[in-house]
Assembly symmetry: C2
Homo-oligomer: 306 residues x 2
Amino acid sequence: MKVRVLGSAAGGGLPQWNCGCRNCLAVRRGDPRIRARTEESVAISTDGERWFVLNAAPEIRAQIESFPPLQPREARHSPIEAIFLTNGDLDHCLGLLSLRESQRLSVYATESVRRGFVDDNVLYRTLERFPGQVTWRALVPDERVALRNADGDDSGLTVLPVAVPGKLPVHLERLHAETPGDNVGLSIRDENTGRTLAYFPGVASATASVKRALADADCVFFDGTFWSNDELVILGLGTKRAVDMAHWPLGGSDGSLRLLAEIPRARRVLIHVNNTNPILYEDSDEARFVRESGVEIAWDGMEFEV
Amino acid sequence: MKVRVLGSAAGGGLPQWNCGCRNCLAVRRGDPRIRARTEESVAISTDGERWFVLNAAPEIRAQIESFPPLQPREARHSPIEAIFLTNGDLDHCLGLLSLRESQRLSVYATESVRRGFVDDNVLYRTLERFPGQVTWRALVPDERVALRNADGDDSGLTVLPVAVPGKLPVHLERLHAETPGDNVGLSIRDENTGRTLAYFPGVASATASVKRALADADCVFFDGTFWSNDELVILGLGTKRAVDMAHWPLGGSDGSLRLLAEIPRARRVLIHVNNTNPILYEDSDEARFVRESGVEIAWDGMEFEV
């Protein structure tokens, strides 16, 4: 399975438009020890021709232009067979609205994520210009399904959605009831090679199902949003703690790096990293600690085989 | 008045994500005679410190990072005093949803454009995280208003909104009733210098008010979407003609370049140029014809004083 990181940052990207934290300033002054990053998205393919995109970031147009295999091969065409949404956050969904121009799309999402984007959203009508412009394919936690290409053929990949502790997107808070399908991780298996990618960009805490999915994987993308629980508070940039935003911090004695240490067999990659996270600065103690733990930090353009 | 073009393309940008037309292919192969372009947006300022942004393109984050004066000068800050919307098209509005992170915004728009974005749009709740997060300031056709900075102070600029023949955004078709405020041009005057910028990125045809605004201007940004009425049809890329999309083609005996020839005193710049338009290829006959007419073609990063 070929893997290409299209975007590696949490919502807002790096730099974030209204942020002057040390990381954002370092990117803007061209410091070589830190890379600019767009919002999280990963493309996968078994043959290099047909691609599945995990999450639709607001800058998806630029992400497609950064990676020639995702570009059209005819006058009107896209090699993107389907898009997955792991939750309804805007940094995961807004890019769908940039994939208009009357192109057919297939989108895999749980029913609650689909409804969160489609209901009461007049902007979505831009993707309803003709019947069947978007084909929604249902993800149901704990039910493994065969992934279909845009033409309906079997892709050779299967996916097991895993319910993950999390929260509703900010814009749906106090509006929708919470359900187990609001946040999922994806365990994607190449049925020809048996190799498995676990994609878990947002994890508030580990359940038995999450642990099982990680243990089974050859490669894990994991929530790298925050280093510490009070990261934004200490920097004077906010009042919310990591746990208030349903992100499990990496560091400390109860941090998620401890969990990742339990699965040394898998290639482990942190993604959805917030602009404030010190691991983004290559010379930081925190970045060094991550590297010494055998864990990688995703960057835009990172590419490998699973 | 300082002017910086942040984005110069019509909806979809150049290259467009699902398009393999000759222009899109030329950009992707690195042909030096054509430039990549993001979707249309222009920043203006009288002092170089406080900026007004005309239209909020989907790639506004990258546009801000391309121009240091728009970047924050404190831990949480933006030098963007206000944003203008000339209509409700997604390429003009979607960027608002990337300006979240609890930052206060001021947005100037007509009542119909405001309603088209705010009503029945659950995503907009991301900009309603606290009371007063967005201040909407009303534009009324034919009523000149003083522009306020974010803190409410007078900016020294005034704007006269001019109703422009057009159409509703695709996603509001058959849903909203058409009103004269659906599409406006902006005549922006620096009251200290008397210099005037006319910003007309979408024009289906010229009315007396449009002609008057152009005649009064020192600089005109004008709708450069299509060269010919049947551009998409001839290229096999669509069935709609330019007029069906409320864009007046540039070329031919009844093209908009004829109108621009009547205002030779003003600096005239074409913007909102569609990816298929042959003027984007610098060696084309059409690009040469535009240049020989004394008209410029906007590009991302173009900067000048009015």
